[in-house]
């Protein structure tokens, strides 16, 4: 009788014992997990883009936000909406706030350079994204703009250079004249174009990221040089205006348009429509992942702000009518 009473208890105890034993199986890896998760929890990260609302910054932010929520550090966006002045104010406020990490998207090579040094002096680590200043900080993640320029110029030389049987006339559409992307690309263009005697640069104008301006410039250039062979531009969202002018002139087959961009669906659509021929893509989803990796590394590293300076140039892919597919053209919904 006593045994009968004991039996359920014994069975229960046996279950508990095996259950407890099951918990003991495997390893919890606390050696790595604890410093990783505890080290990230409660940290504060602030992002100052050029502006929100366009493919690049929306893409990066979506990816960075996701990881921040997952790992429990805060992620805030201070949107200066294309105003360097508002951006300067935002950064000044950040210096007083002392977050652990500031991610800065620079409108040009100079404007934020000193403020970034001040951030570093205040102990805030600074990660520059895709557009850098002349002063290196803790990390740069983004395109190697000289390389982007070299690839663009090479592609155009293939279409318009010696032996192509064309006029060899090319036009350059700059973006914001003082931006990193613009100056580094310009160096590459002139270097490559200068090496081929058949190439003639007939125009070099700034469209300041504005498709309407790109269109007006291209229209005028086409009037002066109806035999124009190619256009190399700074950004797909801008150069779509050049494409529209070329298309309106009925010269889509004659004028080859090379540009660079984040590889979004909008860019692919513009290739599909025949407005652009080649986009050197710096692949925003991939840049987002690299940013996330750099954020974790900077937040966990015991190094002081400014002590170690690293760079990661994100890989580039080429988008043409032949290579675009739903796989390499991203939409924002996919990233969110």
């Amino acid at each position: 009788m006593r045994l009968m009473k004991l039996l359920p208890a014994l069975v229960g105890a046996a279950f508990l014992a095996t259950a407890a034993h099951a918990e003991d199986k495997g390893l919890d890896n606390h050696v790595k997990l604890d410093p990783y998760y505890n080290g990230l929890k409660g940290k504060k990260v602030v992002f100052v883009p050029l502006a929100m609302g366009f493919d690049l910054t929306e893409g990066w932010a979506a990816i960075m936000k996701k990881q921040a929520a997952d790992l429990g550090y805060s992620f805030e966006i201070r949107d200066p909406n294309w105003s360097t002045d508002a951006g300067t104010r935002a950064i000044t406020a950040i210096i007083a706030e002392k977050p652990d990490l500031a991610i800065i998207h620079n409108p040009d090579l100079q404007s934020y350079a000193r403020l970034e040094q001040r951030m570093v002096q205040a102990g805030i680590k600074v990660l520059q994204v895709n557009l850098e200043t002349t002063n290196p900080t803790d990390y740069y993640v983004g395109a190697d703009w000289v390389k982007v320029g070299l690839i663009e110029a090479d592609a155009l030389v293939k279409k318009c250079g010696t032996g192509s049987g064309t006029s060899g006339k090319v036009a350059i559409l700059e973006g914001q004249p003082t931006a990193a992307s613009n100056l580094y690309e310009l160096y590459a263009y002139y270097k490559i174009f200068g090496a081929d005697p058949a190439i003639k640069i007939v125009a070099d104008q700034a469209a300041t990221y504005d498709p309407a301006k790109a269109r007006a410039i291209t229209e005028t250039v086409l009037q002066q040089h109806p035999d124009l062979c190619g256009i190399v531009g700074n950004w797909d969202n801008q150069d779509v205006g050049a494409g529209a002018a070329v298309q309106a002139a009925g010269k889509s087959d004659q004028v080859y348009i090379v540009t660079s961009g984040g590889g979004s669906k909008t860019g692919c659509d513009n290739i599909e429509k025949g407005l652009l021929d080649l986009i050197v893509s710096y692949d925003v989803p991939l840049q987002g992942d690299s940013l996330n990796q750099a954020i974790v590394q900077l937040l966990l590293s015991p190094a002081k702000a400014g002590e170690i300076q690293s760079t990661y140039f994100t890989p580039l892919t080429l988008q043409t009518k032949e290579t675009i597919s739903s796989r390499n053209c991203w939409t924002l919904d996919q990233l969110k």
Binding site: A51, A203, D204, I217, E219, T266
Partner: protein, 341 residues
């Protein structure tokens, strides 16, 4: 160049040189002609039909917006929300049609939005008597902000692929002249007729010249003000449609550019005084022409961006300096404190 000017004319000024007077419009026109001749002589292909079409086309949007701005400025107002209205109403249309809405419906919604914006500005200015410059400055921010927050996600919207409507606007021509310029011309004629031949136009001049006197005389100045801002908003909406067609898309970043000041510049440069009551469509056309000739010539010369800005500013300054030498500020212009600006 001629003595015709809408609305009030300082009687004392005309007495000295009857029938002929060098106005700011004349100065600017002369400058445009000089530049035009200079470019025509020094630049190979400047005087080709193709280049002239490109020249006008590059400033057509500016000109269309200038027509709307000219109208409110004559009525002693100002509309700094024009670019925002243009950008947001059209971006919304493109975003809506991107979600599968028929373009016709989207166009109607965009139109209603533009009218609502103009109406709201007009009501605030006419009935709440808030100065136009502040009302429309704030309205621009509200329109742009709510657009970015609720109406569309990304700041560049592409026109729908293979849309007959936008293709027509972008590619159709009348006697070899592209639709964009035709639209500019048609709108210019409409605004000109409105100002010149209708009672509405006369009332606008009267109100702009002296609002109190106009009201005492029985002109419904408040209705008139609201109507002006609605018309301006509609013009901005039309300019946006043409711009979107021409560029295969609409970039809301235009709002952050200096475009609204360029529009104002075209208006003021052409000789429409900010104190209201004077000028007409011809002034807008002359102002637009000067800016167009300058931009086109400098692009052909391949002058770098920063130097272009410098040259543009210097020429504009010269135009204003010549004007103030030829037409010194007198009693009439000194009365500006009456106005809102």
């Amino acid at each position: 160049m001629t003595s015709r000017e809408g609305g009030a004319e300082a009687p004392g000024r005309r007495a000295g040189r009857p029938g002929w007077k060098l106005t700011q419009e004349g100065v600017v026109f002369a400058l445009a002609v000089v530049l035009f001749a200079l470019f025509a002589l020094t630049l190979d292909k400047f005087l080709t039909a193709g280049n002239l079409v490109a020249l006008v086309r590059s400033v057509a949007i500016l000109g269309i917006l200038g027509l709307g701005m000219g109208l409110v400025v004559i009525g002693r107002g100002i509309d700094l929300a024009m670019v925002a209205t243009m950008v947001v109403s059209v971006s919304w249309i493109l975003a809506l049609s991107d979600t599968g809405m028929p373009l016709g419906t989207a166009l109607l919604i965009g139109f209603a939005f533009a009218v609502a914006v103009g109406f709201a500005s007009g009501i605030l200015i006419a009935y709440a008597t808030i100065p136009a410059i502040f009302t429309t400055l704030a309205m621009g921010l509200i329109v742009y902000g709510s657009g970015r927050a609720w109406l569309f996600q990304v700041d560049v919207q592409n026109t729908p692929a293979n849309s007959e409507f936008f293709n027509f606007l972008a590619q159709a021509t009348v006697l070899g002249i592209p639709m964009m310029i035709v639209a500019f011309a048609v709108l210019a004629v409409i605004v000109w007729a409105l100002l010149k031949w209708t009672r509405f136009g006369r009332f606008v001049y009267a109100t702009g010249d002296n609002p109190s006197a106009a009201r005492v005389a029985g002109i419904p100045t408040r209705y008139l003000m609201v109507a002006q801002y609605v018309i301006t908003a509609i013009i901005a909406y039309l300019a946006g449609l043409i711009m979107a067609a021409a560029n295969s898309g609409m970039s809301t970043r235009v709002y952050n550019s200096t475009m609204i000041y360029d529009v104002l510049l075209v208006v003021v440069l052409g000789g429409i005084g900010l104190s209201g009551g004077r000028g007409g469509v011809r002034n807008v056309l002359v102002g637009t022409l000067l800016v167009g000739v300058l931009l086109n010539g400098m692009t052909i010369f391949d002058i770098p961006y920063t130097q272009q800005n410098l040259i543009k500013s210097v020429i504009l300054l010269i135009a204003i300096v010549i004007d103030s030498i030829v037409n010194p500020r007198d009693e009439q212009t000194a009365q500006q404190e009456q106005g809102d600006i």
